[in-house]
Subunit: 315 residues, 2 copies
Amino acid sequence: MKISVKECAAILKQQDNILILTHAHPDGDTLGCGFALCRALLALGKNARVINADEIPKKYNYLFEDMESKSFDEQFVVTVDVATENLLGELQNAYGGKINLCIDHHGTNTLYAEKTLLEDVPAACETVFRVIKELGVPVDKQIASCLYTGITTDTGCFRYASVTANTFRAAAELVELGADNGTINRLMFETKTKTYAKLERLALDGMHFHCNERVAVITVTQEMYAKTGSNETETEALAPLTRQIEGVEIGLTIREKADKTCKVSIRTFESVNASELANAFGGGGHPQAAACRFDCPVDEAEKLLVEKCAALLGE
Amino acid sequence: MKISVKECAAILKQQDNILILTHAHPDGDTLGCGFALCRALLALGKNARVINADEIPKKYNYLFEDMESKSFDEQFVVTVDVATENLLGELQNAYGGKINLCIDHHGTNTLYAEKTLLEDVPAACETVFRVIKELGVPVDKQIASCLYTGITTDTGCFRYASVTANTFRAAAELVELGADNGTINRLMFETKTKTYAKLERLALDGMHFHCNERVAVITVTQEMYAKTGSNETETEALAPLTRQIEGVEIGLTIREKADKTCKVSIRTFESVNASELANAFGGGGHPQAAACRFDCPVDEAEKLLVEKCAALLGE
């Protein structure tokens, strides 16, 4: 059942022991939502904590490192920025079918939760900001920084066409409430570790094209991690690079996992629906940024993807 | 003499034949200011045009390609986003000492004009937006797009620490007034020509470090332009790359000109004042982004710069 911001806040107010789940391979928006909401619920005197399936990249430590965790028995489970239950990763085993509330912004959301607050906004943090205001919690510097993080990371730092006047207004409010925009953007977008810089160079060296250069592909293998000292938590920034080349309409970043299966990030412009492409392989996402997984090696996944791209592009 | 937004608008209202000068090697902010102000003055029934010393990179064509130019004898000369007269490039010969009004946001502005409207804002377009509102001109889609262009380019798409709540509010207003933010950002930040992509790869391959890896240097030579088919108008995006490596505090991009002199872009973080470094060599700019010129070859310029960097960093 879909609910409004007001209803969402009313439901949360009735609960005391709340577990918040982010999606696997967590990014700035899911983590920003999770920790902002958790901080707001704690401020209301409730028990709350955030968990997720995968390691949180170190650059996000500021979202939570000052928080104390207290054990409690969860009675209410909330997902944030999670379009489908399988995006919970390993947490799906424990929580699949048991989600009480979902706050999300993906058009592909399957309404798997008992109640879903779904808004068409560029970052789920924009919606969580409204929920927190409705809860009546004063937004402090920490909450503001969590929310700003989600908005800036899911919009490529306000770069994407999805950004509206409301997104800019939310950012203005959050900066006024103390969000440290300069430092956050520097951490999120301006700082490349030397290991990442090496990985990026290797990945760009290997970038190749299909379908009359309308499709660009980057592959990241376990061997490349070994060679550069980098790892999977550092690959988030690669995906946007694929669609930066003039003439490219679909950018694919195929990451090999340790078990030789792979995960694919898809980036497109208006001419192609990324989410449609991801859907064809059981994934999902947004019109211009989506993802899917393959239980096969990188080269086979690339072949399947390129065939589908050719069909979509009429090549 | 420094003047206010109100005074600036009153002065412009009294003039009928207005020439607007941008700085040499024009960027999005100076061009956005120039064409937004020109369009506003034309809307008031005045004669106005924008000129500058160097070729305008093609990606900025949308700022002016729908405008008709009418010849007239200029009676009033305005500079926009021009900190010092020598930044006018070749136009300095004709207009040095003859500037009636300057609208700028550089702390290093030498107050060379008869009257100067100087505000401490991340992009001069933020100030021009206020001037246009004060002129009483309705801000149409074209003017909004010019102003948005200046704000997004001079803030690295809202990434820099200089961005304030007011900057975000100006962006919100401009998007509501019709600025095509998605398309503009795509043009400014997401589209790499194949020739630029090649140049970037060459430049990054040659990136090297000084002062315990606290200084990163990229050099761009005429030979590299020849090898990649790129040219100087495509180098603007290189400068920010220098300071993206972890641990780097000063990033230098040294571009060789056809006459073997060179131009240097300086990028820093809070620990070093870029404008102080540029000043030491007769240049100027902002605390974290500045520029200067050298009448010597690239390697000599690099030696001089690195010596000064070492002194600033205490290395």
